[in-house]
Structure formats: C-alpha cells, structure tokens
Point group: C2
Chain length 438, copies 2
Amino acid sequence: MLLVGTVVVDSSTVIHDGAVVVEGSTIESVGERADIIERYPDHERAEYDVLLPGLVGGHIHSVQSLGRGIADDTELLDWLFDYILPMEASLSADEMELAAKLGYLELIESGTTTCIDHLSVAHADRAFEAAGELGIRGVLGKVLMDKNAPDELLEDTDTGINETERLIRAYHDSFDGRLRYAVTPRFAVSCTEDCLRSARAIADKYDGVRIHTHASENRDEIAKVKESTGKRNIHWLDEVGLTGEDVVLAHCVWTDESEREVLAETGTNVTYCPSSNMKLASGIAPILDYLDRGINVALGNDGPPCNNTLDPFTEMRQASLLQKVEHLDPTATPASAIFDMATINGAAAAGIDRVGALREGWRADIIGLRTDITRATPLHDVLSHLVFAARGDDVQFTMVDGRVLMENGTVTCVDADAIREETTEISSNLDIKQSVTY
Amino acid sequence: MLLVGTVVVDSSTVIHDGAVVVEGSTIESVGERADIIERYPDHERAEYDVLLPGLVGGHIHSVQSLGRGIADDTELLDWLFDYILPMEASLSADEMELAAKLGYLELIESGTTTCIDHLSVAHADRAFEAAGELGIRGVLGKVLMDKNAPDELLEDTDTGINETERLIRAYHDSFDGRLRYAVTPRFAVSCTEDCLRSARAIADKYDGVRIHTHASENRDEIAKVKESTGKRNIHWLDEVGLTGEDVVLAHCVWTDESEREVLAETGTNVTYCPSSNMKLASGIAPILDYLDRGINVALGNDGPPCNNTLDPFTEMRQASLLQKVEHLDPTATPASAIFDMATINGAAAAGIDRVGALREGWRADIIGLRTDITRATPLHDVLSHLVFAARGDDVQFTMVDGRVLMENGTVTCVDADAIREETTEISSNLDIKQSVTY
C-alpha cells in the first residue's frame, strides 16, 4: 500500500509532499511523493491530508468504558472505591468484553494504535481476545488486588499470580506479537508486599513482560502507603522491585526529590495523564523536572470515567497547556516535546521497538488525518496543529501492523455501530452508581 | 419549525424526550415530545440527539483567525506585539473580512451562536457585514489604541472615538437587532486616560452599547499599567469609568482582594478564557472566588492564535478541569456551573435578554448535537457529556434568531468550502511572522 500526504516522520521531520510505502506489517519506504510514486508505480494508493505515526496511549483503562461519565466531581479514592471498582466488579464476562471493545474502538477511531492497558481483576481473557480481534497493538494486564478491595475483586495472592502466569502463557506475544503482557498490580494501597514482590518475580520469568501500575497519583494514596509501609510510595515500590526500565508508573503526581532520583536512576517510565489528574483534582505532575532528569515520560488518557474520552489529541493539547500555566512559562512542553510523549516515548514505555515514528523498517502503525476543516484552516504548522488544534475526530485512517483498521473515516475492523448500540442497550440496564449533575 | 430530541433547557432541566417549537425568531413552546407534536401536528420537523441553547463566546477575536497557530510558545506581550498586532496591521480590508468570516464560520459550526467579539483597529465595517451575512448574534467593536501600538494601528484619540461613534450609528442594533456594539479599548497599556474616559462617555451616549476590553491577564501588563498610572489595573479602569454592569473584562487572572471587591460592587462582568490563559502561560483566574462574590463569569475561547480553536465545548471542558486541579477540589466548577458560564452568564455579559436557555418567548438560538458516536457512548448524563466529552465537531444544527445556519452537519448560511479555500490560498501569501515547531 502506498499512502500519500504530508508525512510527519517524527517531531522534527515533516515531508510536506510525502509518501509512505507499506509491505506486509512493515514500512518499506518513506520519502518525497514523486520519488516514491516513481519507485512504486503499481501500488494501491490512498491519500490523506496528514500521515503520522499511530499514537501510543501510555496508560489506558479500556474496560472502564461502560462507566464513561458516571462519577464526575469526585476525588480519586472515592471515585475508585465508590464508583469504579463496584462497576468493574459488577460486569459479566460478556460485559467486560463489550467494555474492552468499546475502549479499543474509541482508541482506533481517534488515532491510538498502541495502548498500555490496565484491565480488571476478572475476565482479562476477554479483553485480550477483543484487542486481538479489533487489531490494536497493546501491552495488557489483568489487575492484581489482594487487599483493600471490594469482596468481588479481592483475590488471594497466589490466585492472582497464578492467573497472571496463565495469561502470560496464553497471550504474551500473541496475535502476531501485537499483544504483550504487563503484570498489573492495581496500586500499592491494594496489594500486599508479597503480591508486589511476586509481580516482579513473574515479570522477570518471561522475556519482554512489563510491569504497569499506578503510583503517587493522590496525596491520600501516598498517606495510606506511608501508614502501611513507613515509606514514600516510590521508595516502597523500589524496595519491592517495582522500578526499572520495564516498569510503567502511571501519574507520579506527588513525588519528592529522593523519589525522583530513584525514578531517574532506575530508568522507570512515567505516564503523564493530565486530564485525569485535573478532573480528579489529583494535582499537576512535575513533568518538566522529569524531562530534565532524563526520565522517559509517556502520555495517557487513563479511562473514560475520569477523562471522559480516550481522545489522544485532546490529551496532547491538555498535556502542553497544563505545564505552560503551571510554570508560567509559555515555552514549556512545546508541540515537539508533547508529540514525542505521545509517540516514541510511549513506545519506549511499552517496550515495543520500531514504533512511534514513520521510518523504513519500522512497524506499519500509521494514522491519517483530514485537515479540510475550519479548525485546521489556515494550517501554518503541521506539528502545532496536531498538538493544539486537532482532535481524534479528524482521524480518517488507522493502520496497525500493516492492517487497515479504519479508512476514509469508516472503521473496518469491527461493526462499530453494533458495539455502540449494544453498549447503549446494556448500559441502561446496568446497576451502576453514578453522580448526578442536574 | 419543530425540533425533537433530548432538550437541555438550562443547566438544571433536561427533557429526555422533548421538543422545541420555533416561530419566526422566537421559541414558541418547549415540552414533552408527545405533547408538542399533538399541539403542532403540521409543523416541519427535524430531529437531533441533543438540543440545547446556542453557546455564548464571552470573549472572541474572530479577525485573528488567519493567525491560527502562528505564535505558539510565546508569552502574552511578545505574542501580541511581535506576532498578532503586526498581523492585524498587515491585513487588507478584504483579508480582514475573510478572517472574520472564517472566525464566525468556526463559531457557527461548533455551536457558538452569540459572540462578544474584539475586532481590530481597521476595517471593522467588514467584520460587522460578515457577521450580518453569516447570521451569528454578536456584540462587536472596533479596537481603540492611541498609545503603545505599532504605527499602522496607532490612531489619535479623537479619530478612534469618532470612528467608534460612526460604527455605533451604523451597526448598533443592526441586522434585526442581532448585532450590537461594544466600545472596545484594546487594554489599558495601549490606551490613554483620555481614550478610556471617552470610551465610557461614548458608550453612555447610546442605549445598550457595551464596553469590552482586556484586563489583568498578565503580570507584565499590570506592571506597565502601574508604572504609567500608579494604580492596580482594575482600580485604574474603575477610576476612568470602565467598570459596571455594561462592562466585560476579559481574563482578570491577576487581581487582588481590593480589585475583586471593585468587580463585585460594580457588577462588572468577567470572561474566563482558560485555554488562552494556559497557552500564553498567563495564569489561572480565581474563578471560584469570583463566583463566591456573585461576579458574573462568562466563558470565552479568545482567538485562534492563542487557543488554537474556537470550539466552545473544548473550552467548557478546559474551564472545569483547570479549576478542579488548581483548587485540588474535584467538586469545583461542576458541569452545571460551567454550562451556565457558556450560556446564561455569557448572555448577561453581552447584555442580551432572552438568550442562554430554551424557554418559551426566548430568542430562537438553538444548537443540535449528535451522540451516535463512540465518545458519547454510553451516555449516562447529558450535562456531563456536554461539558466533559462533547466537541464542537458534534454540532449538527445551528439556529440563530430562528434562522437555520447549519443543518444535518452542513453549513447553509455561507459557502464554507469557499471560505476555507480562500483562506488557505491567501494565508500562504501573507507575510506573517510565525513561530516554528520543527
């Protein structure tokens, strides 16, 4: 396949009249349109206004999708224990699969091609199968909770670890390698020391398995960890083995100097989730400081109940604007830095090579946007547009591993209307507690 | 015309299976769908998923639209004096008209039906004519600058005031009353005392004319006002007559206790522009304090060069999220408070009655959104959806004063493609300084 358009290779290179050739699951060539067409005259062609690397959602909760908008105006721990965990606990296997499909559909439609996805305690198989069917790339993991959880989600330590190992064997490096596994303790508040140490041990046992958890999102969370362990959260995670280049810590809003040193020294990945941190009033993550220290910072939407969307373009805009105002510095997090977070930094956090830029030999994860709309007119600067003005709604084309999941604005990998209709039908019957706004 | 759908009457009332009847420029009836259809069986019907009052842009720069994305990563005064004022100065009358049309087009497409619009020094007639032609409701004003301005924008005081009076006579209460006038000093930095006092005098001379200016957006701006007047900015504006119920002050980010007392005591309107304040790193306006004091707070996108869009839904989301994180309080600015800012509060700031809710006898300014999309699925709570998940892209129907400006997603009031194409053509030839991101 030969894709033509303005090609955003990465945050520093744009080919204004460019083209990308895809062979199988790989990018065979990237260059000037005229050159490429001359070299590949017989390839099937498709044209989009802007072509760019598929975006990486560095912290996603696909299976929370049925709870979109149910818990506005609540603080993290109330939000989690009063609304979200009861919802997760209430879902049947079929409902969990539907939630996952809805989440992946929204990601695919709005330009995310790789997600680091925090599932729930039960029915993780169904999410892996859904991701495999729809075709997204991802690092998914069943959640571990062996304390401080609603009864329906509480597992004993061995059960959770054994189930994790079963899932790793079943799904790590599955679906042509598109799906990989991350051992996924919920957070230190809901996991015993044995659980956290076992998470590290099981991750180490299998090549390429990651570790993904929440950390230091909220001050009450940190207080609880301090109370039970006597340590700051990042120090505790470090002690039990949950730092390192294979670890993705979502949020890291509240960290002190010594914790930041640990993150930097261990090469731990941090995922910045600005919308979620704002809506849950968690706080503003010290992203400039993390970047200064060389910490790899990815970007994530978190989940629909705290965002309330999975639009990666809205998240890029939010990510930059929040740092600019926090530091009263308009040069903070320019478009290029944010684009890196949403592409190559995310791929690095996920531990997936050859993802996050449009380069020869790299995996064919590509999205195409339209710019024939007022919001993109005039278009002085493509990168500025992508970060500050574009929306997931502009995405018209999504390819993962060379497979077309959406083209000309129509999802081809699944019956999108059927997923939406089934969701609407099921949601009206779910017994979900929700906040009320009017 | 009979519109059916979920009817959001205002921030506290939603009719889930509702209808709105429009006669001429007025809402004749609002109620349950079945009742309304029985009463008006022969009316032409149109159906949209959600019907709500058209939104009010409480501080807009339509004529800056050609500068979308030209000045990322710059601070207010550099942004203004190095990029924006030179661009405004460079535009011909035809280009200014095109810029205005592009701005109004984006507003109409994304759901804003009333704007409080800060034009430029020259060619204001062309913006009024464009607004009249496209059909938006607005309070527009030519800018006054009689000091600290580029030579091309600098006017002597009398010239600016005389031109203002000419425009008031020509356009205040024009186009069936849809367009009204606001005397529009740029800001205290660029206006002499004589200019500011004359602005008040000329506004008082004509019934219903407003005053619209920028105030206390940025700390350097405040320092300059202090240096030249010896006073804090709001006190200075108060001294020269630019406070009161007919005054709209955009931003008010940096105000002290005594200034806030003045705003409250005088009934001055404040327009909150969160995206602009974040992107220009101006600061976070003390909106909760303003609301506590009973100050009327509207919401505005500001202009495309600092936002970089005019999407009012993105602005609603931003408005709430920013206050929640600033105060580390998830209950701050719930959806209902934000919806009020974008509707009735904006109408109050604009001084336009019977706008901002869908009520019998009120003006027929109505928009319709689609919710048959993944981002709106499931839809637990309409108001939450509108503030936290909807986008201007979802708007399918826009009516102002009973005239349909967009229906079924297609703009009917103007040739939208032609405006976009002309903009793209002209922009590539404009000699505009712009920041570079890659």
